[in-house]
């Protein structure tokens, strides 16, 4: 009487819409972009050229200087996030997670506000505030006697990238704050009480007990920051335009790819070189994610409570 197992169509029906949309709009274009990087356009038809585009990108000085400039800037952009945004986020979370602190949720909501604003708002707002024409930044520095420190930061090659990185830090500090805050709350009280009995309290309890326990969350935040930074575009575009001025000093991979793909001023857009840069970005992000997954995450001890 054994009934033959019927094919369970409902599984297919449940999975199909998500898998189809995801495959058609995300995975297929991703691989198609990688494929397009191997082609070029000659007389309005697509010709296979192998790795020629990559040779141009890394070999031709006009392209390679731009690429290394964008990549270097992107690393600086990432370093500032790691060195400023994440420590501030951890510090704010550590203060907020203090059990007897009043108004904690009010502070939390207020600090998170910049994160919900769009890059367009953030980019222009800071551009206006730092502008020498309006004079809010010089005026405020003057009020504390530091007027000599003022410079039109966004217009100076030496400062523009760092300034924009700090604006981006200002915008996104809420994310590490929230994630670390959640991690800190999940540490059981018994552990902290046991430490207190041993005489470990206050700051030393943070360094010796809490910090080691939240290391996995810091790892996740680092990789999220890495991926977000290496495909950033909006803030630079909103504040400095597609040319990432002054003199390409704020150019990062996202703006470089946009310019190449769409063209600007006199240069025509080139989808194949655009794909080549996108492929390079893909490889960079993939290396970062793999380093994290195999190098960091697998070695980190996870504590189960």
């Amino acid at each position: 009487m054994a009934e033959k197992p019927r094919f369970r169509w409902h599984i297919v029906v449940f999975l199909a819409p998500a898998v189809l949309v995801y495959t058609a709009v995300m995975i297929y274009p991703l691989f198609n972009t990688l494929r397009l990087s191997l082609f070029t356009e000659v007389d309005q038809s697509r010709v296979f050229v192998g790795l020629q585009n990559f040779k141009t990108l890394f070999g031709d000085t006009v392209w390679s200087t731009q690429f290394w400039n964008a990549l270097g800037n992107n690393f600086w952009f990432f370093m500032i996030h790691m060195l400023v945004q994440n420590p501030i986020g951890v510090a704010l979370a550590a203060i907020l997670s203090h059990p007897k602190l009043r108004f904690a949720s009010l502070y939390r909501s207020a600090i998170f506000i910049p994160t919900i604003l769009s890059f367009v708002i953030v980019g222009f707002a800071w551009k206006l505030i730092l502008s020498p024409i309006w004079g809010i930044a010089p005026g405020m520095l003057d009020a504390v006697g530091l007027k000599a420190l003022y410079a039109p930061w966004l217009g100076k090659e030496a400062y523009a990238l760092t300034t924009l990185s700090l604006v981006s830090v200002w915008q996104f500090v809420g994310i590490p704050m929230m994630l670390i805050y959640a991690a800190l709350l999940s540490i059981p009280d018994e552990i902290l009480e046991a430490a207190e009995v041993e005489g470990i309290t206050g700051l030393s309890s943070f360094w010796k007990i809490k910090l080691p326990l939240i290391l996995p969350s810091i790892g996740i935040i680092s990789i999220l920051t890495f991926v977000a930074n290496f495909n950033a575009f909006d803030l630079i575009y909103a504040a400095q335009g597609a040319l990432a001025g002054p003199d390409f000093s704020t150019d990062i991979l996202g703006t470089f790819m946009y310019r190449t793909f769409f063209g600007f001023q006199l240069q025509l857009g080139d989808p194949h070189m655009g794909s080549t840069i996108a492929s390079a970005m893909f490889v960079i992000i993939l290396i970062g994610v793999c380093l994290y997954l195999f190098g960091i995450q697998s070695r980190m001890r996870r504590y189960q409570f």
């Binding site: 995300m26 600090i111 998170f112 506000i113 910049p114 004079g135 959640a182 575009f233 893909f282």
Partner: protein, 279 residues
């Protein structure tokens, strides 16, 4: 006694640090909004003063509402955001249910395949996405944006929702099966209402990045009639860059809807993040 004083000092320092940071976080927004209500002269003369009867002016808002079609942009942003969220939630929940509920060949593999997109940004595929949208005639339609955002949001949605669906009790579903409910009914009638909080979390996570995105509207739908609010304000501000009243008012108008969403959903958002939905 000493310990008490020490404690009070610590609390004071904690509040001090937080207040300073809150001021840093809110100052730019505050400056933009108060100056949008002032006339041009007062914007420059006393940028930090609140608008008073003398300096109050709505000239910037008049320019913005006359020159830019902000209601249309707003409507487009609404359609794109709500549409994308709808598809992310319904398709994501269905796939998550299949992965969480049934054992079948390739279950783990399918889960990994869908999870790929959590780490790899969809922007890398932009060149081919644009080509595809041009070929299918979807370029400069809101559908192009809805499709892209749906694809972008699905991986994390499936991941989060399947975690929650594993917690729904088997007894409940089996009782439904004994009563003769089909698998579809079990999903829509029994399971979906139970994971509503998780769906809300997913919705809130996706809402803000979709609303604020500049890249895809700029590339896939730059035409006037399909501009989103983010792109619309970017273009508008670019054109009116010397008209400070108009720029400040446009910025304030762009801040308004996100702030409203945030006030409504902030509790959900913060609970979502802190409940460890993102692990």
């Amino acid at each position: 006694m000493n310990a008490v004083r020490q404690n009070r000092l610590n609390t004071f320092a904690a509040h001090g640090a937080l207040v300073v940071y809150v001021l840093i976080a809110l100052f730019p927004v505050f400056v933009i909004v108060i100056n949008s209500f002032k006339d041009r002269r007062s914007i420059f003369r006393e940028p930090l003063a609140l608008p008073n009867s003398e300096s109050f002016s709505l000239i910037g808002y008049e320019t913005v509402l006359k020159q830019g079609d902000f209601f249309l942009y707003f409507q487009n942003s609404m359609i794109v955001t709500v549409g994308s969220l709808f598809f992310i939630l319904i398709f994501g929940a269905m796939a998550a249910f299949a992965l969480a509920e049934y054992r079948f060949k390739g279950n783990t593999l399918m889960g990994l395949y869908l999870a790929l997109g959590i780490m790899i940004p969809i922007r890398i595929g932009t060149v081919a996405i644009l080509e595809m949208m041009v070929q299918t005639g979807l370029v400069n339609t809101l559908w192009a944006l809805i499709l892209v955002y749906t694809a972008q949001g699905l991986p994390l949605a499936v991941f989060i929702l399947s975690e929650f669906m594993r917690q729904v009790s088997d007894d409940l579903k089996n009782a439904g099966r004994i009563d003769g409910l089909s698998e579809y009914r079990i999903f829509f009638r029994l399971v979906l209402p139970l994971v509503r909080p998780a769906m809300a979390t997913v919705a809130v996570f996706n809402m803000i990045p979709i609303w604020n995105d500049l890249w895809f509207p700029l590339i896939l739908a730059p035409a006037e009639e399909v501009k989103t609010l983010t792109l619309g304000s970017q273009v508008f501000i670019g054109q009116f860059v010397t008209d400070w009243n108009a720029v400040l008012s446009a910025l304030s108008l762009a801040i308004l809807p996100v702030m409203a969403l945030y006030v409504i959903f902030s509790r959900q958002l913060i609970r979502g993040i802190t409940s460890g939905a993102v692990k």
